[in-house]
């Protein structure tokens, strides 16, 4: 996919996120929107996956360690063809395959249940170690939040991954700078994030999370990096794409009402229309 197609796809994924959270009347739009471009790149460009065979053994794995951003994962999976896009409006409802946080038994394409912060990182690291031990060719990706970096387990996992030189493993840190109680710099500052991962023997790449050239080159560089895992620190805008949600702590875990939903969708339609003019 070229960048224009990726942008269009990401915009559709953002519409799916907003639509799902609006329908659920609950959920986490801010962090879902901030990671939407990278989720798009992973599911439409980077990963070796097959929506018609979600469990194929040699597939690349993805673990959403910041599991509360399930709407981004579900929207990416739906648009990639794992299940109907219309199903996104069942998010968080009784009987839905789309649980509030990812559940691997319910949702096709979800490689691991997650939601309790800090755990997905370790699970992804275990997958990568297993692949190394058996010479499996697949790669493992995990997405975590910058607020999540306060979980001690993240650093247990990072120490282990660095020590084991897991170069088939990529941590992506969605660095939107905001967590539920406020800016990360005010809650429990995880900066400097790059120096921390360097100290844990990671190859560190810093990118703009909304620039597909930078995203593309980062994943390429990660694939070419040998002897150490890669941490991609992706500087993002929380709520990206929806005017009133951008850079707002308030939209961490709140759903838009009908009126707000209409504005959000209009914002995204406008972006979509502009992309179609290109």
């Amino acid at each position: 996919m070229d960048n224009l197609e990726l942008k269009k796809t990401a915009n559709e994924i953002r519409k799916g996120i907003v639509t799902a959270v609006h329908a659920a009347k609950a959920g986490h739009p801010g962090g879902s929107l901030s990671c939407a471009d990278i989720m798009t790149y992973l599911y439409f460009e980077e990963m070796n996956i097959d929506p018609s065979n979600p469990g194929k053994e040699d597939r690349d794995r993805f673990v959403l360690s910041k599991g509360h951003c399930a709407p981004a994962l579900y929207s990416a999976l739906a648009h990639r063809g794992y299940f109907p896009v219309e199903e996104l409006t069942t998010l968080r409802k009784l009987g839905s395959r789309l649980q509030g946080h990812p559940c691997m038994q319910h949702t096709p394409g979800v490689d691991m249940s997650s939601g309790s912060l800090g755990q997905g990182v370790s699970v992804a690291t275990g997958m990568a170690l297993s692949a190394k031990m058996s010479n499996y060719p697949f790669r493992v990706y995990t997405m975590l939040g910058d607020g999540e970096l306060a979980e001690g387990q993240v650093w247990e996992a990072a120490m282990f991954a660095g020590f084991k030189k897991l170069d088939n493993l990529v941590y992506i840190i969605d660095n939107n700078g905001l967590q539920i109680d406020g800016p990360i710099t005010e809650v429990c500052d995880s900066n400097p994030i790059d120096k921390k991962f360097e100290a844990f023997n990671f190859h560190v790449i810093r990118i703009n999370a909304h620039d597909f050239d930078e995203i593309r080159s980062a994943f390429k560089e990660a694939r070419e990096t040998k002897g150490m895992p890669t941490a991609i620190i992706a500087k993002s805008i929380k709520g990206k794409g929806v005017s009133f949600m951008e850079n707002s702590v308030a939209w961490h875990g709140v759903a838009p009402n009908d009126e707000e939903y209409a504005i959000a969708m209009a914002d995204l339609e406008k972006v979509g229309d502009a992309l179609c003019q290109k």
Binding site: V121, E156, F163
Partner: protein, 313 residues
Amino acid sequence: MSEVKKIATRVSYGNALVELGKEHEDLVVLTADLAAATKTGIFQKAFPDRHINCGIAECNMTDIAAGMSLTGKVPFCSSFAMFSAGRAFEQVRNSIGYPHLNVKIGATHAGISVGEDGASHQCNEDIALMRTIPGMTIISPADDVEARAAVKAAYEYKGPVYLRFGRAGVPVFNDEATYRFEMGKGIVLREGKDVTIVATGLTVPESMEAAKLLEKEGIDAEVINIHTIKPIDEELIIASAKKTGRVVTAEEHSVIGGLGSAVCDVLCEKQPTLVKKIGMQDVFGESGSASALIHKYKLDAEGIFEQVKEWLK
């Protein structure tokens, strides 16, 4: 029972892993800097490439095991019960229990028989914690023969299993030639009509000795070994309670949430029976030799005998 051979079930664990490792390439063993103490070191010696030391980071280790199970391995994740079930409880709950992954948790140093290390390392709460996780199987073997059979059964079963082992040597009372382990099935070791003693782990042989002492007092005790605490053998417990009308539970664990509670959960709904729970009475342990502690907290034959006799008065 000084003439009886004693083997710690943690040693049985290490030996069983080696035997299984020979047959099964997908078996991997994890530890958190406790290879020597948990006896996974025995496996490490035989299969160094399949032994993963995660350092002192039990929460990470637990989820590393989860990830490995999702990519074709059968991990045995090993630490002390305090850390396996205690420190990493939420990892077990959310990353193993909830997705029902095929991870085996080998928890050694359970209960007060840890001994000299004291209360910080004497886990009397692990059964209670693990019982609350839907779909978790809990096995608490009583001797070397049973422990090795349990490890094999855990490997063959697909799903999460919590295996509870002890640090101290315990008598080997099962006969290797005739012993048969069936997950979820209790074993009647002695038939009786006056009272049922349901025991698990090291209190099983102690309860057998207690039954002999009770016999001298004219009390005919039935002794049941419950090696699988979840799913528990309801049928056997109900039938025995119906027969004797009095049930005693004996465990090296808190009386809150452990075997005693599991038995009560069955009986209160299906065969209301008076139950006396022998175990750690909502207290922490302390330093001392394993045998001194087992005696002090009345989990040895004498302690069980006295408590049963007193209760039946």
